[in-house]
């Protein structure tokens, strides 16, 4: 596939762009395989991403690649399990706001700890892995995320999740252990986010607690929703579209980047009610671009 050959044929800049977009795909897909069917709109992406990134900054010098990425995954998953028990008792907007606070909480707690205990803040990654290593790592993560998403929706858990999304009480009365399904999927999603954060960190050399960034949360949500969160292709399309549009706007319109981005969003929302993936569906139906079976059956 072209993506695999990319580091050979593309110049470093285009490889970097592809890497960044693949990372976004991984984030958007893993966000959507939980938040899409369950309708629990998570804004915690920044927290898990940041955790993975900061962990890499701390251990990278002492630990061979790709262990930091695994560490990031474990970190993200653990955090999600920890807060999931409380967070997933909350509904809709309450869940969203609470998860948003996670990134802020993680950041300030880390700063507090660092200033009080270690006396410094921020870490330098002095010997990062080769760029192509990072590229393939992210490519693998993106691929794994997509495979997980596909597998999940065919599985019992996937159906359970969709059931939770349409009517949680009913799902419970049907005997589904909603708590386990929700927390489990949330943690799986978070593990991917932590892994992506861990894999991206070496690119930035210096990591400080500002890496727990709410914009990562927002951006992931935008990409997934723009493409259509109930399909697997939706987040992929959304991430690619937004990534490319963003880059083009950035390079061409120095002072109107935000304006262009905002207007693009508004236009797409008003013109395409079913998201970008809706366009795909009409042209070529496939498992990737269809909503889960439960929804189709009506």
């Amino acid at each position: 596939m072209a993506l695999v050959a990319a580091p050979e044929i593309l110049s470093p800049y285009y490889r970097s762009l592809a890497l960044a977009i693949l990372a976004d795909v991984a984030l958007a897909v893993s966000w959507a395989f939980f938040s899409g069917p369950s309708r629990y709109l998570s804004l915690a992406t920044g927290a898990f991403f940041g955790a993975g990134a900061y962990l890499t900054a701390i251990v990278e010098a002492r630990v061979p690649w790709p262990l930091p990425v695994l560490g990031g995954a474990l970190m993200g998953g653990a955090m999600a399990l920890l807060v999931g028990a409380l967070a997933l008792r909350l509904r809709g907007p309450y869940f969203a706001v609470f998860t948003f606070g996670l990134a802020e909480l993680a950041k300030h707690s880390l700063i507090w700890y660092e200033t009080g205990v270690t006396g410094t803040v921020g870490r330098l990654i002095l010997a990062p892995p080769e760029p192509w290593t990072l590229y393939y790592t992210i490519l693998c993560l993106a691929g794994l995320a997509v495979l997980t998403a596909l597998a999940l929706r065919r599985s019992r858990w996937g159906y359970a999740l969709a059931g939770i999304g349409s009517d949680e009480e009913r799902a419970e009365t049907l005997g589904i252990d909603t708590t386990r399904v929700k927390i489990g999927t949330f943690a799986l999603s978070a593990a991917f986010m932590g892994a992506v954060g861990a894999a991206m960190a070496p690119r930035w050399t210096y990591l400080d607690p500002q890496v727990f960034n709410p914009f990562v949360s927002f951006q992931t949500v935008i990409m997934a929703l723009l493409g259509g969160a109930t399909t697997v292709a939706g987040p992929i399309v959304g991430a690619v579209f937004l990534g490319l549009a963003s880059e083009i706007l950035l390079l061409k319109f120095r002072y109107l980047y935000l304006l262009g981005l905002g207007l693009t969003l508004i236009v797409v929302v008003l013109a395409l009610p079913s998201g970008l993936a809706g366009l795909l569906r009409r042209s070529s139906p496939s498992p990737l671009s269809s909503p889960p079976a439960g929804e189709r059956a009506g």
């Binding site: 907007p93 802020e104 929703l225 969160a229 935000l258 508004i266």
Partner: protein, 290 residues
């Protein structure tokens, strides 16, 4: 704890809380009624702040008087935006698509407003000094401008609360919040009321911004932290409950101020999040939520 400390915490908390309450009220109206999560809420605050800043520094208009301009102007802008954007999304959509589409619209608005502010006022820090004089009372000292800002914020909040309880439109809004179908059957025009509420919400945000311009420096990027605070207060008090937002704002202000005085500035956000978590554990739909 010395009496001065208590005064510092209580008065300081009410000052911060009053401002939090006002910025949250507007969001609560939009989210509680229309399920529109307006992430651009803080950007309207930012615009209101810049408007007051410009009126004051260019023509010497008293910042408090500018409220008479920013209020109505932003209300009008809110009506227009609702008509142009949100009404089309809200018309006959399945609930989940509605929320995600209006969320995306709001993000779009957020970017557009930030860029507009950037073009109009540039990224340089802008600010002015107004009533930055110390007032001594109750054994401590407080700045006049913060006291005035908080007083105005509380006044507007209370006025709005009274409006909701007493006026016809207010009752219509409350009816729609409690029972959308029943209210419509009773003849209330959903779309009209939505538009008005959206406009009021924007106006409250812009007015808060005008007040804030008296206290802090402005850049086009000050909006988001206020949106976040507004969201926290709305959730804390209970979505859709106006009194909840008022009380929630004051509580949050007190908690934050207390944490800064008793511990350290660093843990202000940790403390507020901890309190939020505590309340949500005990009551997952907020203090007064249904």
């Amino acid at each position: 704890m010395s009496p001065t400390l208590v005064v510092d915490i209580v008065v300081g908390g009410l000052i911060t809380g009053g401002i939090y309450a006002l910025v949250a009220l507007g969001l609560n109206l939009q989210y509680g009624l229309m399920r529109v999560l307006n992430v651009a809420h803080g950007e309207f605050l930012m615009m209101g702040a810049y408007l007051t800043y410009s009126l004051h520094t260019a023509w010497g208009v008293n910042p408090l008087l500018t409220l008479l301009i920013t209020g109505p102007a932003s209300f009008g802008a809110g009506l227009v935006l609702h008509r142009l954007l949100y009404a089309r999304v809200l018309a006959g959509e399945a609930a989940e698509a509605l929320e995600s589409r209006s969320l995306l619209l709001s993000f779009g608005l957020l970017f557009v407003l930030q860029n507009a502010a950037l073009l109009l006022w540039s990224a340089d820090l802008k600010g002015y000094s107004y009533l930055a004089v110390p007032l001594h009372f109750l054994g401590s000292v407080f700045p006049a401008n913060r006291l005035v800002a908080a007083a105005v914020a509380l006044a507007v909040s209370l006025a709005f609360y009274v409006f909701l309880q007493q006026s016809f439109l207010g009752k219509a809004i409350r009816a729609l919040m409690q029972d959308p179908e029943g209210a419509q059957l009773a003849g209330i025009n959903l779309s009209r009321v939505h538009g008005l509420c959206f406009g009021i919400g924007i106006a409250m945000s812009a007015v808060t911004g005008s007040l804030i311009s008296m206290l802090f420096e402005l850049t086009p990027f000050i909006g988001l932290p206020y949106t976040v605070t507004a969201l926290v207060v709305v959730i804390l008090g209970g979505l859709g409950n106006v009194a909840g937002s008022l009380l929630g704002g004051l509580i949050l202000g007190l908690v934050e101020t207390a944490s800064v005085y008793l511990a350290a500035s660093d843990i202000r956000l940790i403390a507020s999040y901890a309190v939020l978590s505590l309340i949500l554990i005990l009551k997952p739909s907020g203090l007064f939520g249904r």
